[in-house]
Symmetry: C2
């Protein structure tokens, strides 16, 4: 049997003992667990205790790429990182792009499983099957761009690709992310896990070709994929010119773009002030991921005024919200500046913005004062204060130390009823979609295995009006349970194979599962059907659900923030919208039923067996 796509080797790195070895799983493992999120979640499930402290040396962190990565498939240079999150206390997965993923495969591995804790700051240098542990003391404290620049010079090879953490993750901020070249595995404190292991970076270089089982067959699928890209009104015309900022026009005009710490979702026409048309005036170049014809990533530069000379690869849509509307800062330039700063510091720009917005509301309400903030005047709209606080959060200094582990933790420290002003699920701050006016988004935020994560079941039907699997009313409750199951299973597939969500949602849509199954069959040499592709996604969701159940998670954790449940949107096109606990319960009932789970949100033994997860049945409470 000719196989391909995967390399057949998983690199195991033990930081405690500075040891490594190569594992060669059986073919069956690759057929069943494919790659990316599913392969990694299985390893986490088998080898870690879901009740462990995520920042202890018992935690593992797994880098992986899917079977499509490094082949001729476009948009498949995606890296999946899986660990137990110190922010949400759940298993979590995070995807990012760039060139690192292809380099990982070329170096000979499908995944790197990192365990233990190094005695002192360390980085790992992997080159075509050789692994070296190197002292990283010198890089500790250095921002991510400088780290990469000096490390490449030190290693005398400019072509290595580097995944590293910045100051925030070193300080174990649960907003600390991992930056893979210029792309972030951004949320849920994944970087803090590296920080807790004293692991500053993984540097990688590989030169192998990735084998493909049936080139002619995969070529045909790829050719079909490119046809879909071309036919899509979204892919090249929208993502290709504006990147993710296209969503800003839509949410702004639907009245579901939260501003001022969710006190509003419409107060000015944000789109005209700082939307994609405004931002695109600053575009200078693009920096696409490997083998991506769409090239959504825009590099932007400010050429005059206070912020002259500052550039950033961004902001993405989410940062236009978290570093803009949420802070009441009406400035496209500020979002460029703050976006650059968060990248340098290696900090999640959604959570850091949310934390500052939370502090601003408390400050304006008098719940905290200048005495608490160390003199910072945290009014909405204060750019200088926001930048200063951002640095303090990253370095765990001043008032930043109160916020650096997320708003849930901050509210516990501050007290005085401040938890009413947090916007989080399972500890993860909500992204840029008002869960009051977008019901399936709300349900996804409540039920995602890793908190309010927009990438784990994005309701593109509600935002972009995509009529697949059918047209939906964004404010209706009925059908949203089924739709959320659909969207989560849909999204899981690209995290497994690993493929970019933008073309999956924007260009492939109803063809995604069938095309992926055919492409996987051609590349891997195992035979998959469209149903198999759907089941892979469902399997991931159930496996992660079971991981969290072992840690004590129940239906009560599938929750929404106080403000979303109790304070209707005060004005605009979504005026009056709110998602009450009663509404959430209605949707949860339907969702659990669609999933084949009981009404406590527990998978049934039958469902687990159906998905090939028999081994997890014993873990049901």
């Amino acid at each position: 049997m000719t196989t391909g796509g995967f390399r057949g080797k998983i690199l195991r790195i033990d930081l405690t003992n500075k040891e490594f070895y190569e594992e060669t799983p059986p073919l069956e493992f690759y057929k069943d667990y494919v790659g990316g999120a599913l392969l990694s979640a299985k390893i986490m499930y088998d080898e870690t205790d879901p009740k462990m402290d995520p920042l202890s040396e018992d935690n593992k962190i797994i880098y992986s790429a899917g079977p499509l990565t490094g082949t001729d498939t476009p948009c498949a240079s995606r890296l999946c990182m899986v660990t137990k999150s110190p922010l949400t206390n759940t298993i979590t997965t995070s995807l990012s792009g760039g060139y690192f993923p292809v380099e990982l495969k070329r170096a000979g591995y499908d995944a790197i499983v990192i365990s233990g804790k190094a005695e002192k700051p360390t980085f790992v240098f992997i080159k075509d099957g050789t692994v070296k542990f190197r002292d990283a003391t010198r890089y500790w404290g250095l921002n991510v761009f400088d780290t990469q620049m000096y490390m490449k010079e030190q290693l005398r090879d400019q072509n290595i690709r580097i995944s590293c953490i910045g100051p925030a993750a070193e300080k174990l901020s649960t907003m600390g992310c991992v930056i893979n070249e210029a792309r972030a595995a951004g949320r849920k404190g994944i970087g803090a896990v590296l920080g807790s292991k004293n692991l500053k970076a993984v540097a990688i270089r590989g030169t192998d070709e990735i084998p493909v089982a049936d080139k002619a067959r995969s070529k045909k699928s790829i050719s079909q994929m490119l046809k879909y890209f071309k036919a899509s009104p979204m892919a090249y015309p929208q993502f290709g010119t504006k990147g993710s900022s296209v969503a800003f026009e839509v949410t702004s005009n639907l009245g579901v773009l939260p501003s001022y710490n969710w006190l509003n979702s419409e107060d000015i026409d944000w789109d005209e002030v700082m939307g994609p048309e405004v931002l695109n005036e600053y575009n200078i170049t693009r920096n696409p991921c490997d083998r991506c014809p769409i090239a959504c990533s825009q590099v932007r530069l400010i050429r005059k005024g206070k912020y002259s000379g500052i550039s950033s690869e961004g902001p993405e849509y989410e940062s236009m919200f978290s570093l803009g509307t949420l802070l009441g800062i009406k400035s496209a330039e500020f979002t460029i500046v703050a976006d650059r700063l968060t990248d340098e510091l290696g900090i999640d720009n959604i959570s850091v913005g949310a934390a500052i917005a939370f502090a601003m509301e408390l400050y304006e309400k008098g719940i905290i004062t200048k005495e608490d903030t160390g003199g910072l005047e945290l009014n909405f709209g204060n750019e200088d204060a926001a930048l200063t606080l951002m640095k303090q959060i990253a370095f765990r200094e001043g008032f930043g130390a109160v916020l650096t582990d997320g708003t849930k933790k901050a509210a516990e420290i501050i007290g005085k009823g401040s938890e009413a002003y947090t916007l989080e699920v399972k500890g993860l701050e909500l992204p840029a979609y008002d869960a009051r006016g977008l019901k399936a988004q709300a349900l996804n935020f409540a039920t995602s295995f890793t908190g309010a994560d927009h990438n784990k079941g994005y309701a593109f039907q509600e935002v972009f009006g995509t009529p697949y699997p059918h047209a939906v009313d964004r404010l209706a409750l009925e059908g949203k349970g089924k739709l959320t199951k659909f969207n989560q299973d849909f999204a899981s597939l690209y995290d497994i194979v690993t493929f970019c969500e933008f073309p999956a949602q924007a260009a492939l849509v109803e063809n995604f599962q069938a095309l992926t199954a055919e492409l996987l069959s051609g590349i891997m040499g195992f035979e998959y059907t469209e149903d198999d592709a759907w089941q892979m996604g469902e399997k991931l969701i159930n496996l992660c659900r079971m991981y969290n159940i072992r840690n004590g998670f129940t239906r009560k954790d599938d929750s929404l923030p106080t403000r979303v449940k109790n304070e209707p949107i005060p004005s605009g096109l979504s005026k009056g919208a709110v998602t009450t606990q009663e509404e959430l319960d209605f949707m949860l009932d339907e969702y659990y039923e669609a999933r084949g789970w009981d009404q406590e949100g527990m998978p049934t033994p039958e469902k687990l067996e159906e998905l090939g997860l028999e081994f997890a049945i014993k873990d049901l409470p």
Copy 2:
């Protein structure tokens, strides 16, 4: 005859017509003009009008590397840039290190001569003999590090080396420099010449080996060189641990480290506050030039407080002065922060510091007020104001627009007798050696062909007490004319062959000319003696002198600033020292005589003939 070291090809680039061709000079040309500064000065002399506007398209800018570059010779990855300076209106040469120089040679060229002016922002990409003109509109306004990062991604080759300008040079600031990777061709507005040509960058990649005429012979010389390095008490023990900051201890303790815009040269023990021992606490890694065993370059990082996370490859000694003592800022951290900023902006950190210090004195004396400065409180020691002004200077904004073309020009704009507070020769701001207490330094500043340039005849005898060619009294006048000729000829050799000045001064000293002659003979295949090596240096000085004479320069231009001539150092170990016009005249007389020039500073026809510069005799007035 076997030859080597040089590639035999000079690349000609015409930006106006987007054309290029390769020139293959005769062997004789290489034998006589060797490489680097001498080869390039000859081209400038032959092909440009010394009276031209340096920022017009008539000017040329020449990149070159010497015959040692790219061979096994250590410390020879040096790039020489030659042009007519828009700051000093003279011919000028500037050297920098890194990896670009070796790449230039590997790409097949000894030099690149760039002429004309591109219609719009352009960069040139050279790869193993292919040359492409590329649109650089996207990079215009981008800082130097970001330019390099995005350009490498655009060109899909991380291994290219990039020489580029930042915002300052784009704005034609005569403080604008060229940054070659992380190394600056820093002074005299060389970057502005690129800016005036709409040339953002030269990107280069080469893979050839550099031929060597007699490997066994050159190997022997290199081995001898490394023995000298090892035996030197300065090279590894001092430069290898502290880099150029070693000079700070010395000048601080001799009372010749100017502070507060030269109002003093000793007011506190600067060394204890921000000397090398303090700075070295911030060291994180080194970033040596290609094939350098000494590795003087220290990368420094601030790990806590206001400037947390800021790193810089520096500061060098000169920046400790210009961004520290000269501004009355008593902070090692500030010098790191400001050093990084000047690199990003691509601005000469000596001149920019000198300009800010000049403005600070005027502000404190009430000659300028807040109304002039746009609200900036320019008191000595004001860190925030200094950083803001630095950006304004680079972007030619606010009060920065007044200072951005240097202090000489700024004094003309400001008037009110402000020229008395400038410290410049031929427009170039003085570096970190108090010319009142170091007489040979003073004379070198006065006579260097490119203004107050410390690299063109550094009096290491006065600073470090090196007894070669003999011990000197730093305050004595007699003998300083001869010594300055000696030092200038000494220094010129390393600008020609191209070799780093630090090991030449610190480890080779009395062996430098003989060793270089032997090394050149082995590498190039022409036979050179120690006398030849001395004569090369002298030839460069005379050729550049003649270039400036054609532009009308005379003895009166060999001057010193008002303060140096009239205001004695007020306190400390050099208290009372001053270098009056009378003293300068005494030294000039001796210097001209030592040079074989007449008392107006004109080379004699005999001297020109002796040096093989007969062609210049016709240009004597």
